[in-house]
Symmetry: none
Subunit: 199 residues, 4 copies
DNA sequence: TATGAATGAGCGTTCATTCAT
DNA sequence: CATGAATGAACGCTCATTCAT
């Protein structure tokens, strides 16, 4: 968010402007899709002049990225601690915790998550997934030692990661109510635990 | 492919033209993404006049859809028979068979599959997935009786379906070589069987 | 109609083709206006191939002209005789006769006449009016000697001619039922007779 | 002119742009007819970017309408007063006054009036004539009581209105010099007075 | 800092017309 | 004689972006 912005807003008024723009951008993206996602429309909807928009964002893509970035919780200290605590838990407890986090993350603002999943092609989709991947990778590093010894740990990791991610993603799009349903959480845990624990 | 075409090519020359157009469309989509997917570029690349393009396709979207349709194997008689034969198999055997089919389908032309997954947003993606969904749904109807009794069969089905689909999709995009790797197939089977068979 | 056609249809089948084309042209003109009056649409509506159309008409304009020509009664022998007979009548009788002819001409196919008046700009409107003008001019040559001596006979003629023509035209467009109403005819006669006769 | 514009020009520079566009539009319409009346040509001739044109006019038709509107004198207070004064005049004086106004209106800018009459089909012609119709209708309300009692007053009105309008229109197109010729005015008055006063 | 005005490249699409069969 | 296929020029219009106030 910082990296790609032309200049940082120094006054609160400017902060507002940026927020207006991003809100408008979200609205436009939702309402008219990626094709209708035009700087002119965004500016108009935001009630700011198109030139003002370009004062904060160097180009259209930057808006899209800022939009995505705004909805990813940046990992903080709490995260590191949480990660640390996982080490001492059982496989099932770890998985349960991970699944919980994934569900919570998406349950927080499912419409926004869905927006990106629905309108953006894979290529355009922002680091979001990278972030997630990274986190899950770290977690996996904790998980693997607790799991059966598969031939190719990378492969197990890959499957675990994407199965979880995408089943949640599909739920975001098609069964958002499940995101807070304990039964769903239980099934997800079953899916992963049984896979990792092995036969 | 037929449905959405403006008029059917009658002469072989015309058939060629349509093929050129679709080939070019694939090329353009791969090379410049959905944003660069313009009728003018497609026509130019195809070496046909833009008007010829519009003689066969009523608009841009139709080309995209034709492109997707061209790469879906239409279920045939063999499919029905195969489906029938599943009934008498064990859970594990059924899953194995299903996973095999999924892998084969994508292994056949992974670049093409990836093309769509990478460049098209969910919304634009054609019935392909619907097809797949339908098939997997039928299969699931066979699978469920052989599985543990979950609280919500719909949920189990949902998870099974998307876990398989998307792990394969991600493999298409990032580990295409796995599509023919027996180890990958074995892990996938493990994922699903252990989930369905229960805890 | 003959003059501008590329080749004369020799067989009855060809005659039909030409008729189909003109019928379709009329339909298209009525339904989509002059802007939608395209050779492709006409051919399609006529059920003939576009190339066949071009075998009979050298270009689009020719169709439009043929269409207009088809609906002008070409002056024949009866006309000359009728004209001759006018010479011996009184002013009022002549005017009555002229008004009758004008009304009959337009009453015959008012929708067609209206079509041209509504959709074609003055410039594009075919010789129709020229024809009419010519006839009315001849008639005027008979009328004038029977009328008062105005300062500028050309002017009187101009006014008489256009007043009649356009009042009828407007009636065609907005009060087609008047075209056969004796009261309307009587008023038109009054308009012209009182103008020509008097003070 | 205001109604159909996308946004109002705020700076004088913008005002100029709009004027340039309308001037160019008039030129193009005159020079190449309605068929050649393309937004690209207009913009080029106006020396402004095509996008600027679209910033002020939502589409091609709007330009045409603005062009027509620009040349209709909007009825003002003077008009109402003039109308009032007619009430106390004799039939002949009223008609004379009305004819005068009609002639003056068209004499003011005959080429412009001709432009519309020649190039635009009836359907496309703007409210101009409606305006005129409305005014003449009001006037007719004053005229009729002073006239003979015809069977169908609506019919008399119709004839009076269109005879005047179209004879003037034809004069605009073919005898513009007559618009200021007292003889022409006298003949027009004769046409209408003798019709209304009756036989 | 924010606004109105301007711009050029390009897009999707249709048209009148001609060529090959 | 009639058809299917092809073509190039043009059209209306929008986009992301920059300049002048």
């Amino acid at each position: 968010m910082i990296a790609k912005m032309r200049k940082l807003p120094r006054q609160t008024r400017a902060h507002q402007t940026v927020d207006f723009i991003l809100d408008a951008a979200a609205y436009i993206l939702a309402e008219r899709g990626l094709a209708g996602f035009t700087t002119n429309h965004i500016a108009e909807r935001a009630g700011v002049n198109i030139s003002s928009l370009y004062q904060y964002f160097p180009n259209k893509l930057a808006i899209l990225e800022a939009l995505q970035t705004r909805h990813i919780a940046t990992p903080d200290d709490g995260y590191a601690q949480w990660l640390e605590r996982l080490r001492d838990l059982s496989l099932e407890e770890v998985v349960r915790s991970v699944v919980d986090v994934a569900l919570e993350m998406h349950a927080a603002n499912p419409t926004m998550h869905r927006l990106f999943l629905d309108t953006l092609p894979r290529q355009t989709r922002h680091s979001h997934d990278d972030f997630e991947a990274d986190r899950i990778a770290r977690i996996a590093a904790i998980l693997l030692p607790k799991s059966r010894a598969g031939k190719d740990p990378d492969m197990m990791l890959f499957i675990t990661r994407h199965a979880l991610t995408w089943v949640v993603h599909e739920a975001v799009c098609e069964r958002p109510e499940w995101l807070t349903d304990p039964a769903f959480r239980k099934e997800l845990v079953a899916l992963l635990v049984n896979f990792l624990r092995a036969d």
